[in-house]
Amino acid sequence: MKLNGRLTIEDLNALPEIPIEGINYEQIYIEKEPICPEYTPPDETIIPSSKRTVVIDPGRICMPFGAMWASVGVHKCIPFVQGAQGCTTYPRYTFSRIFREPVSIATASFHEDAAVFGGRKNLIEGIRNLICRYQPEVISIITVCSSEIIGDDIDSYLDEAKEQLEEEFGPEVSDSVKFVIIHTPSFAGSHIEGYNRAAKAFLQTLAKKRSPNNKVNIIPGMVTPGDIREVKHILRLMGIENIILFDISGTLDCPLRLPQSMPYYPKGGTKSEEIMDMANSLATFALSPHEGKAGATYLEKRFKVPAIIGPLPLGVHNTDIFVKRLADVTGRPIPEEIKDERGILLDAMADTFHYTMMRRVAICGDPDIVAAATRFTCELGMEPVAIFNGTPSKDFAQEVWAVAEEYNYKPTIFNGGDMFEWEDFIKREKVDLILGNSKAVNVAKETDTPIVRIGFPIYDRVGYQRRANIGYRGGEYLLDLIVNTILDSKFPDDRVHQ
C-alpha cells in the first residue's frame, strides 16, 4: 500500500493513538465537482469522520461566535472579545452576511506583546476606550482560544479596570455599565455551547430575586428574528407577559429610519433590567435544549423558577407541546385564534400530502433545529434518511431516534461529524430533498437535488432571517416552501395545475 510510491501502511501504523488501522489509502480521491461520469467517489474507509483526523467542511463554528450572538441580542450591549482582531472581524462578516445588519463587536486587539505578556493591558485599556466611545449599558467580555491558553485572569483584570474607571470618571460611570464575563475557549464545544454559556453567564451576573412578576421567560436559542416574533405573537394571543432573553428581533432586523442615533444602537434587544427580573418569573422556557438549557437550569436551581427545556416548537407536535405547557404554567386557556392557526396548518398539510409523502429527505444544521425539522418532515410523511448535526450531542441522537421509532424510519444519523461524510452519503444514496443551511447548497448543486434553506447560516438568499419556521404559522410557511420547492423541481409546469 503506497502513496506516491513512498508511504506504506506500516508508516501509518507507526503513528500511535488514533485508530485508523485497515484504512486503504489507495484509490482515494475526492473532488468537489458535479457528479459526472469522470467522478470517482472516495474510498469508503476514509469517509466516516470517526476514522479520520482531518475535518473537512465543519458544520460548527467555535464557541465565541455563539456568545457574540447572544450578546448582540441584549439592548445596548457590546461584546468585547479578548483576542486577536480576526476573532471579531470574521464574526462581524458572518453576521453581516446573514442578517444584513451592522453589528458592533469590540476587540482587545491582541498583538505579539499580548501573546507574551498576557492581555491585562488590553482589557483595562480596551474597556476604558469602549466606554468612552460608545457608552454601552452592558459589556460582555468574551474570551477566545488565545486568551484562554495564555491564561488571562479576566476577573481580576476586570476589577482593576473598574477601579481605574472609578478613579478617572467617578463611580457613576463605572457603576452605570454592567459587565458579564463569558469563558468560551474556541477549542472546546461549538457555537451552540457558546450561546448556552452566555445564557448562564448573563443570568448569573444580572438576575436578582425580587417580587414575583407573573411573566414567562423565553430563551429562544439561535433562531431567526422572525422566529422570535412568532413566539411573541403566540404569547400575545395568549395574553402572557414575557421576557425574551437575547431578543435579536430588535437588534438584527431593524427598520431604516432617519435620523439615526450616534453612535448607532438598535432600539430593541433585551434590556438589562429585564434580565435582572428573570429571577422572578413563573417559568423559563428554553426553546432550544442545547442553546439556553444552562441558563434555564441555573434559574431553577438558584431562584426556583421552573425550567422547561425544549423541544423547539417547529412542526405540529412540538408547537402543541409548547402551547400546552404555556397554558399549564400560566393557567390561561388556549385561545381560539391559536386553535385556528393550528387548523390552518393542518389544512395545508391535508392539501399537500400527495406532494410530500414518501419523499426521501436529508437534513443538516444545528442540533435543535435539525431534531425539530426531523419531526416535522415525519409529520409531513417524508422519510428522513440522512440527518447531520455539526455539534456532537447525546440528547440529539436520543431525540432523533425517538422520532424515527415513532414513525418507523431508519435514518442514518451523523452526530457531530463534518459535512463531508453527510455529503458523500447524499451522493451515494439519492434523496429527493435537502433541508439545510447555505453550507448544504454545494452538495445540492452537485447532486441536482432541490434544497429548502433552514437554520443557520443562510447567506445566499435574502429574507430568511425575517421569516419564522417555528409556531403554527411558521410551520405553514415552511410547508409552503417545501411543497413549492418540490413542485419546482419534480413536476413539469403543465402538471402542477390543480
Partner: protein, 436 residues
Amino acid sequence: MPATNLKKAHILRKAEGVTKLPPCRRPSAPGKITQRSCAYYGARWMLAPLKDAIHLVHGPVGCAYYGSTVRGKTYKLFSTALREKDVIFGGGEKLTRSLIETKCLMPKARHVFVYITCSTALIGDDVYDICKKMEKKLGCPVIVVNCPGFKGESQASGHRIAYECLLNQLIGQEKRQIGPNAVNIIGEYNINGETQVIKSLLKKMGINVHCVFTGDAPYERIITAHEVKLNLLICQSTGRFLAQEMERRYGIPHLKVSFFGLSQTKASLHKIGQYLGLKKEAEKVIADEEKTIKPTLSYFLSKLKGKKAALFFGASRMASMINALEDLCMEVIATGSQFGDTAAYMETKQAVKSGTLIMDDASEQDLENMRHGLKPDVFMGGIKEQYLSHKAGIGFCIFPQIKRAGPYVGFKGFLNFARSVYKAVYAPVWRLIKSS
C-alpha cells in the same frame, strides 16, 4: 458620561503646504470596533485562490469555518480541529495524521499549505519540523504559513507572510524557458474574473501573462515565475514586497500599473507597451476598446458628475480607486484604509484634492462621524461597513465587488463600475426615506 479624550491623529485633512501623512502601520488601540483583521485572515486572503494546493488549518475548527470563505467565495479547507486534549498534550500528531489523510484525499494536489493559528502558536507545536518530515512522505512541498492571528498589527502582516512563503519556498525552484513577452502580474486576485479581463487586454497587445499572484497561479507557473522579463504590480500594499524582492533576487524590474478607471488603464497599457516595445499595439487596443464603451459611458458621466464619494477599504487600491472615481467626474471627499503604509498614503495624498480626509485604521465610530459630517452620496468599502451606511441612508458600493457586479477592471469593466456606483447613488430608496 466621560468626555471622550481621544486622539484623532490617525485622521488627517489634506491641506496646502502640509506634508504630514496619517501615522500608519501601528497596532490599533484595544476597545475599538476595528475594521482590521488578523494575520491569518491576510494569509488566507492571499493564498485561498491557489487551486492545486491543499490548505490545512492547524487550529480550532472556527478558523477553518471562517477561513473557507474568502472574497465571498467558498473554498475547500481542511482543519485539524484542535480540541482541549490537543491544547494540553500538543497537536503535532493530529497534524501528521491530517497531512497524510488530506494528501490521500487529494492526491492530485501539488503543494500543501499549513496555516498556524493563535492557539497552535501559543501551545508551541513544532509545525516546521513536522512539515519538513512530512515533505518526504507526501512527495510534495509542505509550506508552513506562520500566521497566528496576533502576529503584526493587521491583515497586512498576513499578506506579507503569505508572499514570503511563496518567495522562499516556491518561486525559482525550477529553470525553464518560457515564451517571449511573458510577464507576471502581482497583486491581482481574480475577483469576478478580473484576471481574465486583464489577460485578454494584454494578449491583444501580444503579451503573455505567465503567472498571476495569486488569482491564477498554478504550481508549475509559480516555480518558474522568476523567468519572466517584467512584473506588473497592481495591488501595491500587498504586492510591493514580492515585486521588490523579485527585483532584488532575480533582477526582474516591476512596473506599477492599474486597470481601474479609464485614464489609469490607458496609462498602464501605454506604459507596458513602451517598456516592451509594443507601443503601436497598445494604442490600437486602447482605440478599439474605447470606441465600444463610449456611448454608454457618456450617460453615466452625465448622471454622476459632481457626486461626492467616500472610500474605506484595504490599502491597495485607494489611489487607483480615487482616480477611477475622478474619471467618472465624481469628487472624493474622504478616503481611508485599514492597513495602508506610508507609500500608500503618499500616493493617495497625491491623488486627492486638498480638503479631503485621509484616515488610517478608522474605527466604526470614525466612519460614522465621517458619514454624518460629510454626507457623501456614495460610500465604498467592505460588507462590514455596508449596513451601517445603509442605516444612515447613504448608498453603498461593496469593494471588492459582489458576485453579480462583474469585473471592474479594463474598459468594459469600467462600465460595470460606473453602473454599480450609479445604482448606489440613484437607488429610489434613498429618496423614499427622506420623504417620510
